[in-house]
Assembly symmetry: C2
Homo-oligomer: 353 residues x 2
Amino acid sequence: VLAEEDDVKTYDLVLIGFGVVNRALARLIIEEPDRFRSLGFELRVTAIADLAMGSTISPTGIDLAAAMALPRGLTFEEIGGSSAARTEDVIRSAKADIAVEATFTNGVTGEPAASHVRWALDAGMHVVTTNKGPIALHGAELRARASADRCFLFEGSVLSGTPLLGLVRDTLAGTQITAVRGVLNGTSNFVLERMEAGERLEQSVAEAQARGYAEADPSADLNGSDVRLKVTILANELMNAGLTPDQVTTTGIESISASDIIAAARDRRRWKLIGEVHREVDGTVTASVQPVALDTDDPLIGISGATNAVSVTTDLLGPVTITGPGAGATETAFALLADIITIHSQSKDLSRA
Amino acid sequence: VLAEEDDVKTYDLVLIGFGVVNRALARLIIEEPDRFRSLGFELRVTAIADLAMGSTISPTGIDLAAAMALPRGLTFEEIGGSSAARTEDVIRSAKADIAVEATFTNGVTGEPAASHVRWALDAGMHVVTTNKGPIALHGAELRARASADRCFLFEGSVLSGTPLLGLVRDTLAGTQITAVRGVLNGTSNFVLERMEAGERLEQSVAEAQARGYAEADPSADLNGSDVRLKVTILANELMNAGLTPDQVTTTGIESISASDIIAAARDRRRWKLIGEVHREVDGTVTASVQPVALDTDDPLIGISGATNAVSVTTDLLGPVTITGPGAGATETAFALLADIITIHSQSKDLSRA
C-alpha cells in the first residue's frame, strides 16, 4: 500500500573479499541492473579489498567487468589499484554506504572478518556479511557497535540464500520461539548418503572433495564445528541465548560406523547431523550438534545433499520448516541482496522519521 | 534499527464471523495482551457480526469473555446486542480500523465473504481474512477496491498460519518466481496415507470424518476443488497470473485405486495431491491440481497429515520450501495476527510519509 516512489537511490558498496560470493553479487550488478532498479535502488561498487588481489578504490564506481576479468594471480594494480589489501584504510577512505563482507570464516577467532565488520561499523556504514565466524563469536559485540540508524545484517551466515533469519524476523513476529532444529551441513549429508550406499567414511569424504562439496580440510564439516557456529548464531539471534560456541555440546559424524547405518536402515531411519536449540522450562537455552538416526516421519529425513533445512517451533504454530540451498555462490549473493533490500526499506522508514 | 517507540497504538476490530478462528484470536486478545503490546499495539474488538449469533457493537470495546461464554444456540441479544447479523450495517457503523473476516468459504461465488470484504474496504478499513473463496474468485477486484493507504491481506487463506505469502513478499523480494508446487490439503494426505496402510478410499474418508479432519461433505477435499482455490491464489498473488479457478486443470484423488498405491509403494513412491503453477518460456502461467506419485527424493514426499508444504522456485535460489500447519484455529488466528502486524508496520511508514 506504500505509494510508488520514482526516485531510485544509489548505494555505494565496498566489497571486502573478492571471492566467489562477492563476484556473484558483482555479476548481478553488471548484468541485471533492472533487478535492483525495480526494487528502488542501484548498486555501485566504489571499493574492493581482497587479501590476494589487493585493493582498488574509485568514488565514481569501479569497472567491475575489468576487475572480474583479471587473470588469477594478478592484482588490482593492473587496473589502477594497489597490490596490497590495506582493508582498514580502504574501508575508511571508501566513504561507501554499505560494506559487503564475504571473506573466509575463521571458526576460532572470527578474524580478520570480525575486524572488517568493526571497521565498517565504526566508519558509520551499514554492514552485510555472509560470514558465520564473526557472528557466532562476536555477534553481540558487533551488534552493539552498529549505530541506531545503521543495519548489521547477516542472512547468508547460516543457510546461504535460504531466508531463515528474515522468515523469523519478518513473518514469525508475534510468536515465541521454543526450539530450533536443523540439517545445516551439506558435506555431512553427502557423506552419510554415500555410506548408506555402502561406502566407507574415508571413501565418501574423498568423493565429496573430488566433487568440490568438501574443503581440502573437511574436519569442520565432519567434527560438527561448522554446524556448531551456525547453531550458536541461531541460539543467539533467534532465541537471545547469549551462548558461545564452546557451550554447544558437539559430536561430529566421524563416530558413525557402517553398522550404525545398516541398523538404522533396517527401520527405514536415516542418520543426519542435527543442530538443535531448546528453551527449557526454566528459560535457559541449551544447544547441541550430534548425529541422529531420524524416524521416517521426521520432517528433516528427506533433506539431502547441498539442501539444508531448519524447523522453528513457536508457541502458536508448532514447527514451521524452511528448506532450501545451504551453499552456492549465487545463492549466498542473494542473501547479501536480501540484506540490502532490508537496509533500503528501513532507510526509507528512517528518512521519514 | 528503528528507534523504540513508547506509544502503543490501539486498533479497533470488527470481527466478521465468530467461529473457531475469530474465537482463537479473541482468546489471544483476552489472555495475552502483552503479546500485542510488545509488538507496539493493542487490539480492541468494537463489533462482531455472526450469521448464527447475530451482532453486537460497543465503541468502548466488547466484553469478549462474555461473548465467548454464550452457550451454543444463544445470540448476542443476551449481552445487549441483536439476534440479527446485519453485517453490512455492523461494518458501516462500527467505525473500526480493521475488519477481520473469518466466515465460511463458498468456492463457487465467494459469498457472502466477498461482500463482507467489499463493505469493509468501501468503509475505508484495513481488511484481513482467512477466507480463500473471495481471494481466489475476486482477488483482483477486491485488491483494486482497497485505498492506497489501506491494507488488504490474507495470509491465512492458503496455509493457515504457515507464513508463505509473507515469506515471498518480505524475504524473496528481488527474485523472480518461476514455479510454485505444494501439498495443500490435509484430508487428502490423510486418506492417501490410510490407503497406503491398506484401507479403501471410503473407509479412509469415514475415518477422516470421524477424527474431524474431513467435512461432513468431503467432496471439495477429494475432488481437488479446495486445492484449486488455493492454487489460484498462489498463481495470482505470487506470479501475477490473472487466472480464474476454472482455468486450473483439476483432478482429485477419487481416481486413485488400491493398485495405484501398491504400484507406487513398490518403488518407494507415495501419492500426494499436488497443486502446481508454472511460468512457461513464453511468459504464460499454467496451473494444475492432480495426484502425483512422488519419488523418494521429492522434497514433498514426507508431507503428511495436517501438515502442508509449498516449494517456491526462483531464478536465484532454486526451490525454497516452507512446511507447517495447513489448518487449526490458533494457527489460522496467527495468520490474522501476522497480517495485523504488517498493517501496523505499514501504518508507521505512512504516518511518517
